[in-house]
């Protein structure tokens, strides 16, 4: 039970405000796609259009090749995991998970069996009779996931499902989400503003900003070779060096004009692109790495943030010749 999603030249306007501007996106069946962007970028609007909670001002949404115009959430082959869980407080977990099947006219016994099976899938076996208020946040989120998956949707939509969880639990749930997606094979479209979460779970990341798609690709490609400055900055920390006709404040670096983007961990004492001598200004130990701020001799007011390996020698005041890897000119 899985299907692809086609977004064809979709725009969404709320009065004068444009939430989406001529967006096209093709999602393959069984893919785990993450829509990533800051709040107000249009990612949730796009999810609502797929789920049928809103109709696009123009353009088409197709699921499994079928045009979804005029079809409400009830009749779409999609279900949603909401950020606030939206569990039914007056029902037990079994009744919550079985609700969608009940609406489809599945008999009680079959419903209960399926609900128990889905609760087991999310690690809550034997808890069918419990009510939602007895559960922790993470457990409620699992129930919401089980409830949405119980009806075997072609596409599962996840609207910042981990946003309300604490960091540790969020990382753990990411792994589980990914494992469950592999198991059930359903197309997952997941919305988040957390780029680490996106990289942890996505087959493909779609970076959005101001109603447009900025970048679209596998996590490693989007992180290492972003297609836009926004995408580079949103995926993680980046040093930006202006380059004009091959010239930069650090001297000649690479041909072209634009902004040279260098990740902090791509700078060190060796690499393909020499950056020249720089003075170490400040260091901080971060556990997995040492975070250092360098002032290049050629341009002391253009500081470079560098992540040095754990054991590296780093004393403020020392001079080092810096090199960079994976330079991207945008």
């Amino acid at each position: 039970m899985t299907a692809g999603v086609e977004i064809e030249r979709v725009s969404q306007h709320y009065g004068r405000a444009k939430a989406l501007e001529d967006v096209s996106l093709s999602i393959a069946a069984g893919e785990f796609v993450v829509l990533l962007g800051p709040s107000g970028c249009g990612k949730t609007t796009l999810l609502n259009l797929i789920g049928g909670f809103a109709e696009p001002s123009s353009g088409r949404v197709l699921i499994g090749g079928r045009d979804m115009a005029g079809i409400g959430p009830r009749a779409r082959p999609t279900t949603t995991v909401f950020q606030d869980y939206a569990l039914f407080p007056h029902m037990t977990l079994g009744q919550n998970v079985g609700f969608g099947l009940k609406m489809r006219g599945v008999a009680r016994a079959a419903r209960q069996a399926r609900a128990a099976e889905m609760l087991a899938l999310v690690g809550l076996e034997g808890r069918s009779g419990v009510r939602p208020h007895e559960l922790s946040g993470g457990q409620r989120q699992r129930v919401a996931l089980a409830r949405a998956l119980a009806v075997e949707p072609d596409v599962l939509l996840l609207d910042e499902p981990l946003g309300a969880l604490d960091l540790k639990l969020r990382r753990q749930m990411q792994d589980e989400l990914k494992a469950i997606q592999r198991r059930v094979g359903t197309t997952f479209v997941h919305v988040t503003h957390d780029q680490e979460e996106a990289m942890a779970i996505a087959d493909r990341i779609v970076v959005m900003n101001a109603g447009r798609i900025e970048d679209d690709g596998p996590p490693s490609r989007v992180y290492l070779r972003p297609r836009s400055l926004f995408s580079a900055g949103f995926m993680g920390e980046v040093n930006k060096i202006p380059v004009t006709n091959g010239q930069s404040p650090l001297g000649p670096l690479m041909p072209g004009t634009g902004t040279l983007c260098l990740r902090p961990e791509a700078i060190g004492d060796q690499g393909e692109l020499p950056l020249g001598p720089a003075r170490l200004e400040e260091v901080a130990f971060f556990g997995t790495h040492i975070r250092a701020r360098f002032a290049p001799q050629a341009a002391p007011d253009l500081p470079l943030m560098v992540h040095l390996p754990q054991g590296a020698e780093a004393r403020p005041g020392m001079m080092t010749n810096l090199f960079a890897n994976n330079p991207v000119l945008l």
């Binding site: 909401f82 939206a86 007056h90 409830r147 009806v151």
Partner: protein, 258 residues
């Protein structure tokens, strides 16, 4: 502060006495072993209760009152709940105004409502009866039911309804299986409050019924023939049933929340 504590208790006792003394006097003198419900208290008898319960008109009026209270409250509740659900869910340009107009009858005195309805029914040619009084009671209880339901609908309600639709529920299934059960405490509270209001409402029932009168109207006609412990006994019964309705509402609400 400690020195003030007895004063606090005294204040509380006086406040309760002020509120409940009339009721206590009413109930006590309903057991009066004498012809007048006034001091001195001459002894205890159940004679008056026996008398009113064997009065056919009075028992019929009590039946009418119960029927009227339950049916009009149920109708007001359904209408109020549906209106609240619609207005809470959909944002229309005139939503605020619609809400205001729905609640507005609360500010109009029962007398005005009764007179207005009386004239309308006269114009249309409908005769005063239990049905016309019932319409009047729906008019006064609908705003109450609407206000209670509307206040109880929050974001949790909305998102659960959204989830239900997403899982394939039709609109009536959302209402019956998600919205109403989630609001059960508020619905129960609204229903039983309506019952108590309708149960001892006098003016509308007086002006809009003719032969099949309600209990308050029957009591009023009893009072015309002078004071008697029998009227105290009826009053005590009216009070008892109001108390039962309120306690039921309380139990239902507390049990659902707990």
């Amino acid at each position: 502060m400690k020195a003030l504590r007895p004063l606090g208790w005294l204040y509380l006792a006086l406040a309760y006495a002020f509120i409940f003394l009339p009721v206590v006097v009413l109930v006590v003198y309903s057991f009066q072993d004498g012809r007048l419900p006034v001091p001195p208290f001459k002894g205890v008898t159940l004679e008056w209760y026996g008398k009113i319960l064997s009065d056919r008109d009075l028992v019929a009026a009590m039946g009418n009152s119960i029927l009227l209270a339950v049916l009009t409250s149920a109708l007001a509740l359904v209408l109020g709940f549906l209106a609240a659900h619609g207005l809470a869910r959909v944002r229309l340009p005139g939503s605020g105004l619609m809400r205001l107009v729905l609640i507005a009858p609360m500010t109009v005195s029962y007398l005005i409502i009764a007179l207005g309805l009386l004239q309308v029914f006269n114009q249309v040619g409908v005769r005063p009866s239990l049905v016309t009084a019932g319409i009047g009671h729906v008019v006064i209880n609908l705003p109450l039911c609407f206000a209670i339901c509307f206040a109880a609908m929050g974001d949790q309600q909305k998102s659960a309804e959204r989830a239900a639709r997403d899982l394939g529920a039709a609109e009536w299934q959302v209402l019956v299986q998600v919205s109403a059960p989630m609001l059960a405490p508020a619905l129960a509270a609204a229903f039983f409050l309506s019952v108590t209001f309708s149960w001892d409402e006098f003016i509308i029932a007086f002006l809009l019924t003719r032969f099949d009168v309600t209990l308050p109207v029957e009591i009023w006609s009893m009072l015309k023939s002078g004071l008697s412990p029998a009227t105290n006994a009826v009053g005590s019964l009216v009070f008892l049933i109001s108390v039962i309705a309120v306690v039921l509402a309380e139990i239902l609400v507390v049990r659902r929340r707990g």
